[in-house]
Amino acid sequence: MIRELTCIGCPMGCSLTVEVENGEAVSVSGNTCKIGENYAKSEISAPTRVVTTTVISRQGIPVPVKTAGNVPKEKIFEVVSLIKNAKLSLPVRLGDVILPDVAGTGVDVKATKTVG
C-alpha cells in the first residue's frame, strides 16, 4: 500500500510517499532529510505529537507549557485535560517541570516561559 504524507518535521512540509507493508513503512521517498524518513516511519506505525497549551496559575495568569517530547497522538486530549487540572503558583521559570510523566507517557510537561 502507498500512503502520501506531508512531513511536519519543519516548515518545509515535504510531500512524502511511503510504501507500507503490515502497518510498517518499508520505504520513504520525497523527503529532504532524515527527519522526513523518521516522521514517516513513526506516523505510519505510531503517530506522535508535541502538545502545547497553558496552565492557569493560582494568580490567574496563564503559563504556557509543552510536553518535553512527543506523546502518542491518541493521548492528546487526555494530556491536555491533565495539564488543565495541574496546580501551579507563580513564579515559574522556563523549563520548570509542571507535570512529570504525563498520562504514563514518560514525558514531562514543562513551562515554556518565565512568568512572575
Binding site: 506531508t6 511536519i8 516548515p11 502545547t52 497553558t54 497522538k73 491536555v80 522556563l94 516561559k113
Partner: protein
C-alpha cells in the same frame, strides 16, 4: 533631549536580533523602544512549537525562542525601555515617544532600525456583509485572549481564512474544548504552511473549505451563525451554494499588513507590493540611516528568517554609524517577473554589496517542478530548481557577488515553469 547612536523601534524578534547584531558590531549606545510590558512581541502569544529549527537546530515554542534572544539582550547589557510608545519619527531621525518613566519626549538618533512588526487585516477591510455582533475576532486577538489572558472567546467556531494563525487557532480552540466547524478559504489553496494543515486541521478532523467564503453574518448583538458559499474563479459567490453554520465565534485569519504608520510619518518610501518600506541590499530605506527588518518590511512565515534578516539590518546600521561611506553609483532596480509577487530588496547597489546578496520573495501561485531564475538582461545570475513553490512560503535566494557583477540596468526575479 536624549540622544542615542541607534534607536530600535520594537522589541520583538526583529528588534532584539537587530540590537544584538549592532552591539556585537561595536555599537554600545543603543535603545530598544517597546510599547508592550515585555520583550518578545508576538512570540509571547505563539505558545505552539515549530520555532527555531534554522537558528537553534531544535524545535522551540514562541516564548522559548523569545526568551533566548531576550537573555542575550540582558547579557550584552543592551538598554531597552518597556511601555514606551513611539508616536512619530521625523525625517531628521527625531523620535517622539511617550512612556510612564519619561513622559512625552523627543529622542535623537544617528540611525534607526524599524522593527514594528505587522497587524492583522480586520473585518472592516474584508467587506463581509451583515451586522456587527459580538463574537467576531481576528485570529491573533483570540490567540492573545486564550494564551495570555486565559479567556476562551467561544464554543462553536468558524474560521475565515487559512493563514497560519487561523490554523493554529483551530487546534488551540479545539484543545480548549470548542468545536471548530470549518476553516473557510477564498483561494483555491491555503495561505498557511502545509505542516499546519496536517497537525492543526487533519489531526482533529476539521474541514478546510477551499474556494469558499463567508457571505453573511447573522446575529445582531451576539453572533448566531454565518453563511458560507462557494466562489467562482473570480472569487464571486456562486448562488445556491450557501450553507449555514451556527456559531458563536468567527475568527478572521485573512492576512497581515506591515505596520508602517511611523515609517510613513518619517517620509520613508513604501512599496505598494509589500506595504513595507522599499529597501536596498543593506535593508536601508529611502532615508539614509533608517533601516527596516522583520514583518514591518514584509510579512514572514518563519521567525528564523526574521532574526537572520534583522541581524543584517543591525550590522548594517552599525556600519553606517561607524561611518561607512554611502553606496557608490546608482542602484539597480530588482523587479518581480513571472510568478513573483514582490522582491526584498527592490534596489541593489552591486559595488557595495557583500558577498552573497539575499533576495527574498513570494510566488503568486503554486508551481511544481519549476525554477527560480534571477537575471539581468541576457545574463543569468542564478537558477534554482525546486520541487514545489507555494505563496505561503517565503523564498530566499543568495546571489554571489561575482554573478552580481554581470548585472546592469535591472535585475529580474521570475519563476520559469516546467515545460509540459
Amino acid at each position: 533631549m536624549r540622544e542615542f547612536e541607534l534607536v530600535i523601534i520594537g522589541g520583538g524578534p526583529a528588534g532584539m536580533a537587530a540590537a544584538i547584531a549592532a552591539k556585537e558590531n561595536g555599537i554600545d549606545d543603543i535603545v530598544i523602544l517597546e510599547r508592550d510590558t515585555q520583550l518578545g512581541g508576538i512570540l509571547n502569544q505563539c505558545i505552539h512549537n515549530g520555532f527555531g529549527l534554522h537558528t537553534f537546530k531544535e524545535e522551540l515554542t514562541g516564548p522559548e525562542y523569545a526568551e533566548r534572544y531576550a537573555a542575550k539582550v540582558y547579557e550584552l547589557g543592551i538598554h531597552f525601555e518597556l511601555g514606551a510608545m513611539v508616536m512619530d519619527i521625523s525625517k531628521d531621525k527625531e523620535i517622539t515617544v511617550i512612556s510612564r518613566t519619561h513622559g512625552a519626549e523627543t529622542i535623537r538618533a544617528k540611525a534607526i532600525v524599524l522593527a514594528m512588526g505587522c497587524r492583522e487585516r480586520p473585518r472592516g477591510a474584508l467587506g463581509i456583509p451583515g451586522f456587527r455582533p459580538q463574537g467576531v475576532y481576528t485570529a491573533g486577538t483570540a490567540q492573545k485572549l486564550v494564551n495570555c489572558e486565559g479567556v476562551i472567546p467561544g464554543k462553536e467556531v468558524v474560521i475565515l481564512g487559512s493563514g497560519d494563525i487561523g490554523l493554529i487557532m483551530a487546534r488551540r480552540m479545539t484543545l480548549e474544548g470548542a468545536k471548530v466547524k470549518a476553516v473557510v478559504e477564498l483561494a483555491p489553496y491555503s495561505s498557511g504552511l502545509k505542516r499546519n494543515i496536517v497537525q492543526c486541521l487533519d489531526d482533529y478532523g476539521i474541514p478546510l473549505m477551499l474556494s469558499h467564503t463567508v457571505v453573511d453574518i447573522k446575529g445582531k448583538r451576539k453572533l448566531e451563525g454565518v453563511f458560507v458559499a462557494a466562489v467562482d474563479e473570480k472569487n464571486r459567490p456562486i448562488e445556491g451554494t450557501e450553507e449555514y453554520f451556527p456559531c458563536d465565534t468567527l475568527l478572521l485569519s485573512c492576512g497581515l499588513i506591515p505596520e508602517n504608520e511611523l515609517s510613513r510619518s518619517a517620509g520613508v518610501e513604501l512599496s505598494p507590493l509589500t506595504n513595507g518600506p522599499t529597501v536596498d541590499e543593506s535593508l536601508e530605506t529611502s532615508i539614509e540611516g533608517v533601516f527596516a527588518c522583520g514583518n514591518v518590511l514584509h510579512v514572514h512565515d518563519l521567525v528564523d528568517f526574521v532574526s537572520e534578516e534583522a541581524s543584517r539590518a543591525g550590522k548594517n546600521a552599525a556600519d553606517y554609524i561607524k561611518g561607512k561611506p554611502a553606496s557608490p553609483g546608482v542602484p539597480l532596480d530588482v523587479k518581480p517577473g513571472n510568478g513573483v509577487r514582490y522582491t526584498v530588496p527592490s534596489r541593489l547597489y552591486t559595488e557595495s554589496a557583500d558577498d552573497g546578496v539575499h533576495i527574498r520573495f513570494r510566488v503568486t501561485g503554486v508551481f511544481k517542478g519549476a525554477s527560480i531564475v534571477v537575471s539581468s538582461g541576457d545574463n543569468e545570475l542564478l537558477r534554482r530548481k525546486g520541487r514545489i513553490f507555494v505563496p505561503s512560503e517565503m523564498l530566499d535566494v543568495v546571489v554571489k557577488k561575482e554573478n552580481l557583477e554581470l548585472a546592469s540596468g535591472e535585475i529580474e526575479v521570475r519563476i520559469e515553469e516546467a515545460s509540459v
